[in-house]
C-alpha cells in the first residue's frame, strides 16, 4: 500500500516536472522574445517597470537554469504572467474558466453514467436479442456523430427552429451572479440575489444543449464498455457456480454480477476522460461557454502566446493529476490489478 502510494506520488511528480519543463521551453519555441512569452509583457514595459522599482528582478543574461528556477518560483507564488491581449493576470483568468469546463464535463459525465450504465446492463442481459442489437446500433450511430456537428444540429433545431432553449453563453445578461466557486449552479445557490429560482432555471436552460451534445457521445461509449464487461463477467465460472447453487437470475446479478462487472469498467472510463475533455473544449467554442477550451482557442486566434503557455500547463496538470489519482485509487482498491490495463470498447 505504502509502496504503491510512493510509486504514484513519484510518477506524478516526475510527470509534473516534465510538464513544467515543457511549458518553460514553450517560451523559446513560440515566436517572439522568450521573456515576453513568459511574462506576457512587452520588452519596453518590462524595462520601464525595472527602472521604476529595483525589486523586480529581470535578468535576461542569467543562465537558462536560473531562468527556469525563477519561472518556477513565480508559478508557485501564483504569478503566472499576464495575457498579451486583455492584460489581465492569467492565474485569475484560468481560475475563472477552468471550473466552467469542469462543471460542464462533470454534468455531461454524470448524465452519461446515469443513462449509459443501466442501458449497458440491459443490452448485456439481452445479449444476442433484439434489445441488444437495437442498443448496439444506436450506440454505433451515437459515437460516430462528430460532436461539433451534433451541437450545430441541436442549436438549429432547439434554438433557431423552435426557440425553446438559449443559443449560447452561461446565463442571461439580465442576471448578475457574483463568482465564488466558479461553478455557476453552486454560485447561484450561494449568492445573495433576488428571485433565485428563475436565475437557477435560466442557468439550467443554458446548460441543457452543451451538456446533451457532450453526453450523447460519452453515453454511447459507456454503454459499450459496460455491455462488454457485463457479458464477460456473466460468462465466467463463478456465475455458473452461483446458478448451479440454485440462485435466481436476480440474486446472481445482485450478489455476484454487478459488483464484478463494474470493476473493469472504471479504468476504461478513466481512459475516456481525455476524449470527454476534447469534446467539451470543442462544444464550448460552439456555445460560447466561458470555459478553458474556448479561452485557449480564442488565445490561438489572437496569438496570445503567454496565455497558451499558462493554459496548457494548467489543463495538462489538471488532467495528469486527475487520471493518475484515479489510477492509483483503482490500484489500491482492486488487488487483482497488477498493472495498468488497457482494453477495447
Amino acid at each position: 500500500m505504502v509502496n504503491i502510494l510512493l510509486r504514484y506520488t513519484n510518477l506524478i511528480i516526475i510527470t509534473l516536472f516534465i510538464l513544467s519543463l515543457l511549458s518553460f521551453s514553450l517560451a523559446y519555441l513560440f515566436p517572439g522574445n522568450p521573456i515576453e512569452v513568459l511574462t506576457g509583457l512587452k520588452l519596453e514595459e518590462l524595462q520601464k517597470l525595472q527602472n521604476q522599482s529595483a525589486n523586480i528582478a529581470y535578468k535576461p543574461e542569467g543562465s537558462v537554469l536560473s531562468q527556469y528556477g525563477h519561472y518556477m518560483s513565480e508559478l508557485f507564488s501564483g504569478n503566472w504572467g499576464v495575457s498579451f491581449n486583455s492584460g489581465q493576470p492569467l492565474y485569475e483568468e484560468i481560475m475563472l474558466s477552468l471550473p466552467a469546463s469542469i462543471e460542464l464535463s462533470a454534468y455531461a459525465l454524470t448524465l452519461s453514467l446515469l443513462v449509459g450504465l443501466p442501458l449497458g446492463f440491459l443490452a448485456a442481459l439481452r445479449h444476442h436479442r433484439a434489445t441488444d442489437y437495437t442498443l448496439l446500433s444506436i450506440s454505433v450511430v451515437g459515437y460516430s456523430i462528430p460532436v461539433f456537428w451534433l451541437a450545430l444540429i441541436l442549436i438549429l433545431v432547439f434554438s433557431l427552429q423552435f426557440g425553446w432553449l438559449p443559443l449560447s453563453g452561461r446565463l442571461s445578461l439580465i442576471f448578475e451572479v457574483p463568482s465564488n466557486t466558479g461553478f455557476v449552479l453552486l454560485d447561484i445557490l450561494l449568492a445573495d440575489i433576488e428571485d433565485k429560482p428563475s436565475v437557477f432555471l435560466d442557468a439550467f436552460r443554458h446548460l441543457i444543449l452543451p451538456t446533451l451534445s457532450i453526453a450523447i457521445v460519452t453515453t454511447t461509449l459507456i454503454l459499450r464498455i459496460t455491455r462488454r464487461s457485463v457479458i464477460e463477467t456473466l460468462n465466467s465460472e463463478f456465475i455458473q457456480a452461483a446458478y448451479a447453487r440454485g440462485l435466481t437470475t436476480r440474486q446472481v446479478l445482485m450478489r455476484h454480477g454487478i459488483r464484478n462487472a463494474l470493476v473493469p469498467i472504471l479504468p476504461l472510463l478513466a481512459m475516456q476522460f481525455p476524449t470527454l475533455l476534447t469534446n467539451a473544449m470543442i462544444v464550448e467554442t460552439i456555445f460560447s461557454w466561458p470555459g478553458i477550451g474556448n479561452w485557449l482557442i480564442q488565445a490561438i486566434y489572437q496569438q496570445d502566446y503567454s496565455a497558451i503557455r499558462a493554459g496548457m500547463l494548467a489543463v495538462s496538470v489538471f488532467v495528469v493529476i486527475f487520471t493518475m489519482s484515479i489510477d492509483m485509487f483503482l490500484r489500491l482498491t482492486d488487488p487483482k490489478r497488477k498493472k495498468i490495463e488497457r482494453g477495447t470498447i
Partner: protein, 297 residues
C-alpha cells in the same frame, strides 16, 4: 457456388478466410464495407465524379437550395453555398481530403507505433518503462491541447494539425503492439524459432508480425475513425485546413455563416462526415466480432 463434390475431402479455411467468412455473416458489417468502398472510390476518382471544380464560383447561383427543394435545380444537386460554389463537388472533394489524409495519418502512426511498440516489447527494464510512461502522459492529454500547442509553435495549417493528430494516434498502436509482443514471446512457436538461433529482429518480423496483422487492421479502423473526427474538428475550429479548402470540417465552419438562411450548408457536409465515420466504425466493429468469433471456435 455449390458444386458437386466428388471427394469427401475436408476443407480447412485459412485464418484469414475464416475471418472473412465470419465477417460475411454480419450483414450490417457488409453494408458498412460497401459504404466504405464507396468512400475509397470517391477518394480515388473524385475529379471524375465531381460535376464542378470545388472552388468554381458562379455569382449568378448563390445559395441555390438542393434539388429536392421546390426552388432547387438539377444542375446543383446539393445546392450552392454563399459564394455560388457547388456543394456536391465540395463535399466530394472534402471527403477525398478528409478521408485521404486520415488514411495517410493512420498508416504513418501505425508504422511508427509498431516500431516503437516492438522495441518496447522486446526490451526490458528502463527503456521499456520510459517509453511506457512517456506515452501514458501523451495519451492522457486531450488531442486538441496537443494540437493547440503544435499549432501555436508552427502556425495554423493542415500539415501542422496533421502532426498533432499523428502524435495523438501513435500511443495506442504502441500499447497494442507491446502487449501483443509480450504475450507472444512466452509462447512455444517463438521459443522454437529462438532455439533455431533467430535474432530479435528475425523473431519479430518472421514469427510475431504475421500473427499480428488482423489485430493491427482492427486497431487501424478504430484509429481511422478517431483521425477523421479529429482532423475535421480542427478544420472546423479553423486550426487545421484553412477557409478556401474543402475539407469537411472547414466546410462546416464556412456553412455556419449562412446557417440561418441555408441550413443545407451544414447538414450535407456533416451528413457525409457522419456517414464516413459510421461506415468505418461498423466495419471495425464487424471485424472485431469476426475475430472474436473465430478465436472462440
Amino acid at each position: 457456388m455449390a458444386r458437386f463434390n466428388l471427394y469427401q475431402e475436408e476443407q480447412h479455411p485459412s485464418p484469414l478466410q475464416y475471418t472473412w467468412l465470419e465477417f460475411q455473416k454480419n450483414h450490417i458489417a457488409m453494408g458498412g464495407l460497401v459504404c466504405l468502398m464507396l468512400f475509397i472510390l470517391i477518394t480515388i476518382f473524385c475529379p471524375l465524379l465531381a460535376p464542378f471544380e470545388p472552388n468554381l464560383q458562379k455569382t449568378g447561383n448563390i445559395l441555390v437550395p438542393p434539388s429536392w427543394d421546390p426552388n432547387g435545380g438539377i444542375s446543383h444537386i446539393f445546392g450552392t453555398d454563399g459564394l455560388g460554389r457547388d456543394i456536391l463537388s465540395r463535399v466530394l472533394y472534402g471527403c477525398r481530403m478528409t478521408f485521404g489524409i486520415s488514411i495517410l495519418l493512420v498508416v504513418f502512426a501505425l508504422l511508427i507505433g509498431v516500431g516503437l511498440g516492438a522495441t518496447a516489447g522486446m526490451s526490458k527494464g528502463f527503456r521499456s518503462s520510459f517509453v511506457n510512461h512517456t506515452l501514458d502522459s501523451i495519451q492522457a492529454i486531450p488531442t486538441i491541447l496537443i494540437a493547440i500547442i503544435i499549432i501555436a509553435i508552427l502556425g495554423t495549417g493542415l500539415v501542422n494539425s496533421m502532426w498533432a493528430i499523428a502524435l495523438a494516434l501513435i500511443p495506442q498502436f504502441v500499447h497494442q503492439t507491446r502487449d501483443f509482443v509480450r504475450r507472444e514471446l512466452s509462447k512455444e512457436y517463438v521459443m522454437a524459432a529462438r532455439l533455431d538461433g533467430a535474432s530479435k529482429i528475425q523473431l519479430f518480423v518472421r514469427s510475431i508480425l504475421p500473427n499480428m496483422g488482423e489485430t493491427l487492421v482492427m486497431q487501424a479502423t478504430l484509429a481511422l475513425s478517431i483521425a477523421i473526427l479529429d482532423i475535421s474538428a480542427l478544420g472546423f475550429l479553423n486550426l487545421g485546413a484553412q477557409t478556401p479548402s474543402s475539407e469537411l470540417g472547414a466546410l462546416l465552419s464556412q456553412g455556419i455563416e449562412v446557417v440561418y438562411i441555408a441550413p443545407w450548408n451544414i447538414a450535407l457536409p456533416g451528413g457525409a462526415l457522419f456517414l464516413m465515420v459510421v461506415s468505418v466504425n461498423i466495419v471495425g466493429d464487424g471485424l472485431r466480432s469476426a475475430l472474436r468469433n473465430r478465436l472462440l471456435h
